[in-house]
């Protein structure tokens, strides 16, 4: 039965789920109706979101929302759990190269206050631990570590430091002070090679001095050694090469999905599901094999819809390039309600979307990938990629979404917006989205609608 693409509320998904089950829906072990996540995990925000109506989207949401449960099961089954922090995409490739090791980002707890509509009081608990509202919502990670009510306590904690967000670095330091030992590894601030310096090409059309790649490679060697000790067997080049190939399988699917969705005349999948799908790249939502399957289904659904010219957001919607992830998932729904659609994104981990070079020694390849992180280089370089992708995906406007309290947001928005305006002349705005944005709907709505109206007016001129 061919059902037209549509966004459903949680209540509508109850009926849809019953209908799919009656029609013989086959689900993985973590499957089930979305509503159960409210009872089990207090994910109250689901009641205010609208979801794509495909079985592929159902699988995506169930995969995302069962991560903590699956991690606890993995621990019970004897797997070693690695908490990897800040580098967003590189260390998990290494960890999943070892049998019996799973890596996750405790950073992901930044969405917990949103999903639980702050009923978890993690932000207040963080404040009691000395990390107040002047810090980014990732501060939710700190009490989540201490109370053990969310993710399992990792067997090993690894955190990149140096050219990283101060919020995160400061919170991670506080975590260590509170008794959670951390393996810190240095991420130098990426720079352009000086004249006469040996230059090295990085993924994402970037360049860095070879000496910086060498430092990162050496630091990753230290990380590899610790991971090997945890796993009880060394992490050798062959294992890493296999791990890179499998990570690239995820990245290829994601690239295909982004290209299919973002270049289509209308949006075959909603912005919210695309945001979640992109997030899978950084640590495979704690299950690499399943990530490949989830993305495969989403891609098939998107391709089918494009072929049938069935779009969830019509071609008239204004094409928006979105910069930075949103603390409140609802913002992605709202953008579409207000007449926009996402046609490109930089959610701060574009280096996790690019293929890891397979022709290089594995650690060298990973070092180059890690150094291509948009957040460790100059904002100007980040802006250049944004401009390029705006052009590729025919963006009509750019939203720079500020993360409340995040140290990098204080300046980067102005630099990115200036670069976009100068190169493309597109209208841009900066918005700040808190973990639950309901109280700001009027302000956000008027600002986004103004942007959309401006972009529409430019179509006529």
């Amino acid at each position: 039965m061919n059902i037209a693409p549509r966004k459903l509320s949680l209540a509508e998904w109850d009926d849809r789920y019953a209908q799919l089950t009656r029609a013989g829906l086959k689900e993985p072990a973590y499957g089930g109706p979305l509503r159960r996540h409210i009872a089990r995990e207090s994910d109250l925000r689901l009641q205010h979101l609208h979801f794509d109506n495909s079985p592929a989207a159902l699988r995506l949401w169930n995969f995302l929302l069962t991560e903590n449960e699956r991690l606890h099961q993995a621990r019970a089954g004897g797997d070693k759990i690695v908490g990897t922090m800040k580098d967003l995409g590189t260390v998990p490739v290494m960890a999943y190269s070892l049998p019996g090791v799973r890596a996750f980002y405790p950073d992901g707890a930044w969405w917990t206050p949103c999903l639980m509509e702050c009923s978890d009081h993690l932000l207040q608990q963080a404040e009691a631990l000395g990390i107040d509202a002047s810090f980014c919502p990732v501060r939710a990670m700190l009490p989540a570590f201490l109370n053990g009510e969310h993710f399992p306590r990792p067997d090993l904690l690894i955190c990149s430091t140096g050219a990283v967000c101060d919020d995160f670095s400061a919170i991670a330091q506080r975590l260590e002070t509170l008794g959670h030992s951390i393996l810190w590894w240095e991420m130098p601030r990426r720079r352009q090679p000086d004249p006469g310096e040996v230059s090295c090409a990085l993924p994402g059309n970037l360049f860095a001095p070879q000496v910086q790649v060498d430092w990162v490679r050496e630091e990753l060697q230290r990380v590899a050694q610790s991971l090997g000790e945890l796993a009880g067997q060394p992490l050798d080049d062959q294992m890493l090469a296999d791990g890179i190939q499998k990570a690239n399988e995820v990245r290829r699917r994601l690239q295909a999905l982004r290209t299919t969705v973002y270049s289509a005349p209308g949006a075959p999948l909603p912005a919210l599901e695309m945001l979640v799908a992109e997030m899978l790249a950084i640590h495979f939502c704690s299950d690499r094999g399943e990530t490949v399957a989830v993305l495969g289904e989403l891609l098939a659904e998107a391709e089918k819809r494009v072929q049938q010219k069935q779009f969830i957001i019509g071609a008239d919607a204004v094409r928006i390039f979105w910069v930075n992830p949103v603390a409140d998932l609802r913002a992605m729904n709202l953008l579409e309600d207000w007449g926009g659609r996402v046609c490109g994104s930089d959610y701060m981990f574009t280096h996790a979307l690019d293929l890891i070079p397979e022709s290089l020694p594995p650690l060298e390849a990973l070092a180059r990938t890690a150094l291509a992180d948009p957040m460790v280089g100059s904002t100007t370089e980040r802006a250049a990629r944004i401009v390029r992708e705006c052009r590729d995906f025919r963006a009509e406007a750019v939203v720079v979404s500020r993360i409340p309290g995040a140290s990098h947001c204080a300046r980067e928005g102005a630099i990115i917006r200036e670069a976009v305006q100068k190169a493309l002349g597109l209208p841009t705005i900066e918005l700040e989205i808190p973990p639950v944005c309901d109280a700001m709907l009027l302000t956000l709505g008027s600002r986004v609608q103004a942007l959309i109206e401006t972009a529409r007016a430019r179509r006529k001129s």
């Binding site: 631990l129 000395g130 990390i131 107040d132 002047s134 810090f135 955190c159 430091t161 140096g162 050219a163 990283v164 967000c165 101060d166 919020d167 670095s169 400061a170 919170i171 991670a172 330091q173 506080r174 260590e176 002070t177 951390i182 810190w184 590894w185 240095e186 130098p188 601030r189 720079r191 000086d194 000496v211 430092w215 050496e218 630091e219 230290r222 100059s378 904002t379 100007t380 309290g405 995040a406 140290s407 990098h408 947001c409 204080a410 300046r411 980067e412 102005a414 630099i415 700040e432």
Partner: protein, 324 residues
């Protein structure tokens, strides 16, 4: 040519050995004066460095990677005037060999930058002499601490960062014997903010440890000079890398060891934590400082306006009163 630097962990000996004049921004009269047009979340110090760099067209300016705010201020500045700005990559880690190699490479790179701005290739003997002279000056400054008022001491250190000189105050006041011994710990305290030290003294306390970024903490102990003639650049890199004590380091245990020794030795009874708006690195330490040293801590937020506000004054007075 003047080379302004914004962190005490930039090796000034290296700049001087290139025949240029290193100038620490903390002493500059026109630094951080007047209202800054701050957008939400921007650190006033990083904004002041950016504005200062824009004003001094004929000078080079060194930013560092010590924090996100300074890195991005460099981005903002280098976007329009890339040639006279240098971003010195200070490694955050210090327990692995890579940290020292990063530091060394940055010193080399700084040398190339300085030569491109009229500096000469440094002669080993000159460098050794400069290192020796500055080490002696720092030693002299460290010994001065108990003999100056806190404002005099802040000024004397800032002057040293400005021109390398040590000017012993003519009439150091006798410390008030009943004044409450406090420490001030935190980010940079610039010339326009020294009035804070007067406020503290007027309230009946005295600063016996200035551990701000521009205070005693910025005075490196003497370098090891054994290999200076064989490897002058290495001596500079090692001297700074091994002795840097700051909040951005990971782990930041060196900072706590450094503070712990001095707080105990000087009988400190309370700590003023000096935090610039938007500075996550220092703000996040407030509770750890309380828990580690078990001393009362007053968090004072630096703002862009010079001098103390009535609110700031009131908080300081109340803080000091609690010890009486």
């Amino acid at each position: 040519m003047k080379v302004f630097y914004s962190s005490p962990w930039v090796p000034v000996e290296w700049i001087e050995a290139h025949g240029l004049q290193p100038r620490g921004v903390w002493f500059a009269e026109d630094f951080g004066c007047g209202a800054l047009s701050l957008s939400a979340g921007v650190c006033a110090f990083s904004e002041a460095v950016l504005r200062f760099a824009e004003m001094h067209h004929d000078s080079a300016v060194i930013f560092t990677t010590a924090c996100d705010q300074m890195r991005r201020s460099f981005d903002a500045f280098a976007g329009s005037q890339p040639d006279r700005a240098f971003l010195f990559n200070l490694p955050a880690t210090w327990q692995s060999p890579v940290a020292l190699r990063i530091f060394r490479t940055e010193v080399e790179r700084l040398g190339r930058f300085l030569q491109a701005h009229g500096g000469r290739a440094p002669a080993t003997e000159d460098l050794a002499q400069i290192i020796e002279r500055r080490s002696q000056a720092r030693k002299q400054l460290l010994e001065l601490a108990p003999r100056c008022s806190s404002r005099q001491y802040a000024e004397t250190i800032a002057r040293f960062h400005w021109d390398g000189s040590v000017r012993v105050p003519d009439h150091p006041p006798a410390p008030a014997s009943r004044a409450i011994p406090l420490a001030i710990v935190g980010g940079p305290l610039t010339a326009s903010q020294w009035g804070l030290l007067d406020l503290i003294e007027a309230a009946g306390a005295r600063i016996v440890l200035n551990a701000t970024e521009s205070g005693e903490r910025s005075l490196l102990p003497a370098f090891r000079l054994e290999n200076v003639s064989d490897d002058p650049l290495g001596a500079v890199a090692r001297g700074y890398c091994e002795n840097c004590v700051d909040v951005f380091q990971r782990p930041n245990t060196r900072l706590y060891s450094w503070l712990g020794e001095r707080l105990t030795a000087r009988g400190v009874r309370g700590i003023v934590l000096w935090v610039h708006t938007g500075c996550d690195l220092w703000r996040a330490e407030a509770q750890t400082v309380r828990e580690t040293f078990r001393l009362p801590v007053l968090l004072l937020e630096a703002d862009a306006v010079p001098g103390g506000s009535p609110r700031e004054t009131g908080r300081l007075q109340a803080f000091v009163e609690t010890f009486k």
